[in-house]
Symmetry: C2
């Protein structure tokens, strides 16, 4: 009896090892494909250079929608469709500038940009004294007496001591979003925010801001100033508290316009109703071409499908790629996708987003139950040879985050974040700043994780 | 009795936790210092831009020796000295160029550079037909009949499927070093090597080559061609096997000259005779300014001392920084250092080298006994918050490798290697291609590891 037991035991061990080997070989194949025959870099080149920036509601965004739809159709998927969604339309306009005007008559231009959603200045611009603060608390302490009629300058630096730079960003993004609303309470004429950038340079970084419930006629212009500009303004205000800051911009909010999420899928042969989603956002800010944010995620998501198709891998579950519209200033695409998913009673098993730039991948974050994470975490060893085995419980991309109430296991590609905030939302986020191999390694890692979910289930 | 036992147990647990917390706080301090007040980036700026390239025997190398000595002296160490060593002197000369001359009279220039140690061409250059091979095996199969009088073109690409790019380099470096010696056997007139670069671009990558025991009068010129140039040459030879390749260079070998390793140390207060060494090589190739290879390692090594001194950390063991001369084309500095160590009967407990570029650090490789590695590996958790906890058994830097026979535990900083071979040994290895935060994180990781070795011993 014991003898049969041992034979059975060793046979099972043999099968287990066989299966393990097969999985390892398959993952190696996915990597080899992405690193030698992949399309992610060429696709990014087209999206970044031929289409360029694609802010929601812009012509660039519509060109991107049509291009991605065509790319998905060229893959001969089982289904490709556009999901209509109304998106905000904000246009930067033709000029935005600022200068520091000392009380003795000198004037120095500094690089600024409008924050997304901001109103324009009056056509003659705004000239006012500056009050520098680092927090809403400090603003409150100054109070209406000291703030009234001035331009509030939020000059809080990102913390270089934060090793995960996304956390340094998270610390301060609230200032960018709500500075105007807060400053309005104390009668400020405008707000200028230090760019969320860990380097000192001359590039202002845009991003979304909100007026909350502030009435239209009470709203004030909201701008970002480059980090070098912020350092200069700060030291000059310190020397000459009576200097004027002059700002002028003609950005504008328009009524919502129609745009689309772009969706394509391969039907699963075993579980066609169970969806594994791979997503990224198709819109970008308008100062660069959005190569890292989030062109990289778009082409990596497409690459998962290209990889499966090229290697003739037939998924058991339905593999769906969703390129979300309007992550940057409204998340309307993600909300619409969720609403339709609920309406259609869809079953999302797993959702993976890539929205941390096309940098060297290090692993994946997961938002799931502990049991699910413990199961998934065991697969990390398959990605150890690729230095992408850091699986951890953490926050995930903004678009897929909406699927949380559906009980979907959520994940995001985690990259080396050290350089991201040099580029993020600025004119430096362009194609040449994405490294081909790093982009491809991210795509291969995503393909591998999706393959593991499809193979083992959840 | 049991009660006392428990009290003792919990007291020990308390002490253990206290110690752990102290270590964590100390490491956090080292990081905070390097990321906010460190000198590594400013020092690299000086070494790269004010001094520039520093090939052994060059004026640049001597300026670097004097500068590093001064930097060490400014730190008020217990001792700073120069260790004399005779080094090879090879000079690139004033020109190096090549062109593909089709049999129909067209001519296209392609970017080439002499390999370090190569002889010049005759003053009128060399014009010959090309035979393309991928390996010494293939060359041998062609034999003397087909190779005689021709220029041998080694066109083997680095393997993009290798995830660790250092392994892709290791696969092929033997071709660069020994191509001339092999080709001479079959009567070749010169050798041209495809640059060891994972990207396609127009920059040739130099590096050392050797003539082995080949007699002076039999030696042939040895060059590298850019990857784009190699692709062009290959496709043209394929279309027109009778085309000529024309090469001309006037590099030259000179007799050995005197140079120096630069050494500085803080004496340990508990174990002054036990040395913990931190090293990097001061020399560089001459096409760029050697910012990654190995300016980064030099300034990171200095930063460990700056960090200790600034935070008033008094090491128990002697902490010695060694900036080795001539790693690139002879390793004479490392050999001399070893010889003097043996002569002086020195006790090297541990040696750490940084020579993998100033990229985002991922961990450390170790060459040690299993027992020692298992002990060290437990410390990796201290570096987990900094994403630098990949401790593994592997190869270490070429300079400290000489200390192996002394029983020293050896270690090297391991970085994200994806981009390294775009820059390595080429004109692209310049200051602007080093990222400040990544450099600083490497310096902080090194400081932390040295601190752990000093605290726990081995």
């Amino acid at each position: 009896m014991l003898r049969y037991f041992f034979i059975l035991f060793f046979f099972q061990c043999y099968l287990f090892t066989q299966e393990n080997n097969e999985i390892e070989l398959k993952i190696r194949d996915f990597y080899n494909y992405s690193l030698t025959n992949g399309s992610s870099y060429n696709r990014l080149e087209y999206l970044s250079n031929d289409i360029g920036s694609r802010l929601s509601g812009s012509l660039g965004a519509e060109r991107a929608v049509q291009w991605v739809k065509k790319e998905l159709e060229n893959l001969n998927l089982d289904e490709v469709w556009l999901e209509p969604v109304m998106v905000p339309k904000w246009v930067r306009g033709s000029f935005e500038y600022a200068s520091i005007e000392s009380s003795t008559g000198n004037s120095i231009n500094v690089p600024v940009c409008a924050l997304g959603g901001s109103i324009s200045t009056p056509s003659k611009g705004i000239r006012a004294q500056v009050i520098e603060v680092k927090s809403f608390e400090e603003l409150k302490n100054y109070g209406k007496n000291k703030v009234q009629g001035k331009i509030v300058f939020f000059n809080k630096s990102m913390d270089p001591k934060r090793i995960n730079t996304f956390l340094a960003y998270r610390d301060l993004v609230n200032i960018r979003i709500n500075a105007a609303t807060e400053a309005i309470k104390y009668g400020a004429k405008a707000v200028v925010i230090r760019s969320l950038n860990l380097s000192n340079d001359d590039f202002p970084h845009t991003g979304s801001m909100s007026y909350g419930k502030t009435k239209l006629r009470e709203r004030i212009p909201s701008l970002a100033i480059s980090t070098n500009g912020a350092n200069l303004l700060s030291s000059m205000v310190n020397l000459d508290p009576n200097l004027n800051f002059f700002i002028k911009q003609n950005c504008k909010n328009y009524p919502d316009v129609l745009s689309h999420n772009v969706i394509g899928e391969i039907k699963g042969h075993a579980y066609p109703k169970k969806i594994i989603l791979i997503g990224a956002h198709l819109d970008s800010w308008d100062l660069g071409d959005g190569s890292h944010d989030n062109g990289a995620g778009v082409v990596q998501s497409l690459e998962v499908l290209s990889n499966f198709i090229s290697l003739d891998y037939k998924p058991r579950h339905t593999i769906r790629v969703v390129l979300f519209m309007n992550e940057e200033n409204g998340l309307r695409g993600a909300k619409k996708y969720l609403a339709n998913s609920i309406k259609n009673n869809e079953d999302h098993l797993f959702a993976l987003e890539s929205d941390s730039g096309g940098f060297s991948p290090r692993g994946f974050s997961f938002d799931s139950s502990e049991i699910e994470f413990n199961k998934i975490n065991k697969w990390s060893s398959y990605l150890k040879p690729f230095f992408t085995d850091n699986f951890f419980v953490g926050s995930v991309g903004a678009d897929i985050n909406f699927l949380k109430p559906l009980g979907t296991v959520l994940s995001s590609l985690s990259t080396d974040s050290q350089k991201y905030f040099q580029f993020h939302h600025s004119a430096k986020d362009v194609f040449k700043n994405v490294n081909r191999r790093e982009l491809e390694l991210g795509a291969a890692a995503m393909t591998s994780l999706i393959y593991l979910v499809d193979t083992f289930g959840l």
